[in-house]
Each structure stands twice: as C-alpha cells, then as structure tokens.
C-alpha cells in the first residue's frame, strides 16, 4: 500500500464498505462511561452493592488516567518487530517492567483506598498496598498472564484495574491500520482474552460483532455466529434468560463447550462490556447447570 495516495477503492463507490477491523479504547472517557453504566445498572439489580463498588473503582481508574501524561511511551522498535512476526504489538513483559506501570498501580491503589468497601475488600487492598517488590511483581505477572490464584481474587482484581488503565492508554496510541488478527479469541493489540462481545449499531459497522479485550479494552471484529474462543461455527447456539429484554445472550459453542456473552448494543446503546457482563451474573448462574463453561475473562467476575 502506498503512503502517498489516499486509499480509494472504486469498487466500493455506492456500496457498503467493510467494517473496521478494530476500534481502539478511549482512555479519556471510557472509565467514566463504565462508572456511569455500573451506576445505572445498580439502580435495578440484586448485585447493586457490588455494581456500585465497581462504579467507584472505575471512577478511580478515570482519576488515575486523567492525572497521567497524555502520551504513554511506546517501544516503536518493539511494535515493528511484533508486526513482522504476527504478534500483538503491546508486549506485556516489557510493559510490566516499565517504571510507569508501578506508578499507575500505586496511584490506583491510593485512589481505591478512598472508596467505601466491605472488610474483605479493604483487607485485600491493604495487602496489595503493603506488598513488597517481589510480591507486587508476582501479582503483576499473574494478572498479565490472566492467571489469577483462587485464594487472592480481590487482591489481583485491584492490580488488574490498574493494568486496565495502563494498557488502555498504550493501546489508544496504536494505529488500527497496523493491527491484524493474531489468533482467535485473542486481542490484536495486547493478546488479551475477551470480556464479552458486542453486536454494534455504529455507522460503518452496523450489525457487526466486536470482542472487547479484558485488559486494554480494544475492540476487534469477529464474525457473528462463530465461537469467539475456538473459531468454530459448527454448533453455535444461544441462551438467554426467558422473558428478558433480549439484549444479553450467551453464545454457546457445542465444539469447545465454552460461552461468551453477546451484548446487543443495537438494542441498548448504553451497554458497556465490563459493566453489563458483571450485571448479568444471573445468566452465568443459570448456565452453571449446562454443559457450557464461561470462556470469557473478567477480572471482576472470575469464578462465575
């Protein structure tokens, strides 16, 4: 592709262009928007106390994000190398050892300490704040490997919240034109697992489906009616709570027996992947009695 000529495609004149492959996160507003969605969902949900807590945590994430310098340092040579070998451009190991990553973590923990929370959450937060360098590094490793120990879910959720801030601002500086499919069910920006997928009604992408990354919140296109986890379209069916609004369905795959939620952004434009995933815990609970297991990754809803 030439850099000097605009990318005109005469065959598409009068036609409908293909939907963009990816949408980058918008760190300047995404956490505030998530907080607002958590608050809205808390108004009518059995899980209201938890949703309100996560709303506060999302506000803390926005506060931390807003205090950071506008541009994160990206390793340009690393980006080029990743592209050459078909790897996600954001190198998790390199970012883990980046000094600003620890700054972001400290700032988030300080902000989180201002939130009113139950004793187990406060204890967990204190443990993360008091952790020494080795323990902190191990927690960062676990979070960035999407491998959270079962006995420290809350501790790691705080760390994951900080990493969401750090990775979203880094992903926001990438060029979508340079992103390409890495592997099914894997974020093309940071290699993360999807938190949920969304059928959107946005101009230029009407009725296409995007997976939302659980770490950097990059959205990438994935063909509909096709398993997000194993890429098979042989036995995809949907489960939803009978009599519901029809906005959240679990896309169940008979091949890998995993499911990932599909949010109908077309029906409710306020939907937000993290908030609506947590708020629809009831669907996960009903699905526990089926052959399907939860295949998405949400640090605030592990074990569901």
């Amino acid at each position: 592709m030439s850099d000097t000529f605009p990318a005109a495609d005469p065959s598409m004149v009068g036609g409908v262009s293909p939907a963009p492959f990816a949408y980058l996160p918008k760190p300047l507003s995404m956490f505030a928007r998530r907080a607002a969605r958590f608050d809205a969902l808390a108004a009518n949900n059995e899980l209201a106390p938890y949703l309100a807590f996560l709303a506060s945590l999302a506000r803390a994430q926005q506060t931390v994000q807003d205090a950071l310098p506008p541009q994160a340092d990206l390793d340009r040579a690393g980006l080029e190398r990743a592209r050459e070998f078909g790897m996600p451009p954001l190198d998790r190991d390199a970012i883990r050892t980046d000094p600003t990553t620890l700054q972001v973590l400290r700032a988030l923990l300080d902000e989180a300490a201002k939130i009113e929370m139950p004793a187990p959450a406060a204890t967990a937060l204190a443990r993360v704040r008091d952790a020494d360098g080795t323990v902190t590094d191990q927690m960062l490793r676990d979070v960035l490997a999407d491998a959270i120990p079962a006995d420290a879910l809350a501790e790691h959720a705080f760390v994951a919240a900080a990493m969401q801030v750090q990775f979203a601002r880094m992903a926001a500086q990438l060029d979508t034109k340079l992103l390409g499919a890495v592997h099914p069910g894997t974020c093309p920006a940071c290699g993360g697992a999807p938190v949920a997928s969304m059928v959107v009604g946005w101009i230029g992408a009407e009725s296409t489906r995007y997976c939302v990354c659980s770490l950097c919140a990059t959205m990438w296109n994935h063909v509909r009616v096709k398993c997000v986890l194993c890429d098979s379209n042989a036995a995809v069916t949907y489960r939803e709570i009978e009599g519901g609004a029809g906005t959240i369905k679990a896309e169940c795959c008979g091949t890998c027996h995993g499911y990932v939620k599909v949010l109908e952004e077309r029906k409710d434009t306020a939907m937000e992947a993290f908030a609506d995933d947590v708020a629809s815990l009831g669907l996960d609970i009903l699905l526990r009695d089926t052959e399907f297991r939860r295949g998405s990754f949400n640090p605030f809803l592990l074990g569901a």
């Binding site: 420290a152 879910l153 709570i241 009831g282 592990l302």
Partner: protein, 196 residues
C-alpha cells in the same frame, strides 16, 4: 487456551466456585442474584446463516429462531441481512427484508401441487407422481413440437413449445447442471438467473 487459563481458579476438589464477587465481600449480593434467577429458565435460540432465495445476487441473511429443532417446535422469529457477508454487508432489498413473511406465508409452496384440467383447486401430490407426470408431459410435447431443422435445412434442434424457470439460490454447480439439462433438451425459453 481458555481451559488452562481458567483451570485453577476453581477450588480444586471441593467443586464450589470461588468468585471475585465473594472475595470482595459481596457474597450476600451474589446469593441474592442466585435466589433471584432460580425461578427463571434459559431460552434456547439460534442464529443461522443462509442465502436469500429471491435472486442471483445471493445476499447473505441471518435467520433467528427459537425452540427445539429436534422436538419440531422451532420457529423463525426474525431475519436480517448478514453484516459479515461480502455481497450485501447486512443490507437487503425490500423483498429480502420481508423474508420472514415469505416463510410464514399460508400460501407458501412446500411440496409439489397439481391443478388437474377442469379443476379449480390445487392438490398435493408426491414427488414421484410429480416428476413422472412432468416427464411424461415433457416427452409428449417434445415429440410433437421438436424442430430438428429450420426451413433452410440447417440443424437447429429447437424445442420452443415448453419453457422452464429454475431457482437462483443455488451453487454455481447446480446452475451449470440446470443449464445443461435444459439446453440439451433443446429448450430455449429458459431462465435460472445464471445469466447474471
């Protein structure tokens, strides 16, 4: 990949899942959700890709259905253009957009029907009966009206007294075969939209 990632976040041996919700101290709220959803059921739905049957543009469609196909109570609830399909990218023409009514229409043709001479109504017949009768009538008409040579004595092998309309929502191979069958009989009045 997902299995190994999630393999160890369940407490081994006990069989009870530990959740982040509980770990944060919101176990009561989680229990409230469990109690709340208990009376609810899961509805099974499907989304199935297909090709619009109207014309040879062959737009992709997604058909939404609910119910159980095996129990025979599955029904189509909604049809929309397939946004992932390279031909139409989710768009449909007015005929395609009305496909659901076409499927549920009372007058939809589902099996061979015949209106016998002198009768005022269509009757259902078996495929064997239909094909035998069509073959018989075609043979009789072809024997009577086949034109092997024109007035100048040039071989033309025409059969102009019968025509054939074939469906367009087929594969290239089916369209090719349909064409060969019709043309080898000498049929000229013939259309299956393979011309598009």
């Amino acid at each position: 990949m997902q299995i190994s990632r999630r393999g160890f976040i369940k407490v081994a041996g006990v069989g009870v899942a530990v959740t982040t919700v509980g770990a944060f101290g919101f176990g009561e709220a989680e229990a409230a959700v469990v109690a709340h959803v208990r009376p609810f059921k899961l509805a099974n739905t499907m989304e199935t890709r297909n090709t619009c049957p109207y014309c040879s543009v062959a737009c992709g469609i997604i058909m939404y259905s609910k119910g159980d196909l095996k129990k025979g109570d599955a029904t189509i609830t909604h049809i929309e253009g397939d946004a992932d399909h390279p031909t139409n990218r989710g768009t449909l023409c007015p005929k395609g957009a009305a496909l659901k009514d076409f499927i549920h229409s009372e007058t939809r043709l589902k099996y061979p029907m015949v209106r016998k001479p002198g009768s005022n109504k269509f009757e259902r017949v078996s495929w064997d009966t239909a094909l035998d009768r069509i073959a018989r009538l075609m043979k009789d008409d072809r024997d009577k009206n086949f034109v092997a040579k024109n007035a100048d004595g040039v071989t033309v092998n025409r059969w102009t007294s019968t025509g054939m309309l074939a469906a367009s929502a087929t594969t290239n191979e089916t369209a090719w075969l349909t064409y060969k069958v019709a043309r080898s009989l000498g049929l000229l009045g013939f259309d299956n939209q393979a011309r598009v």
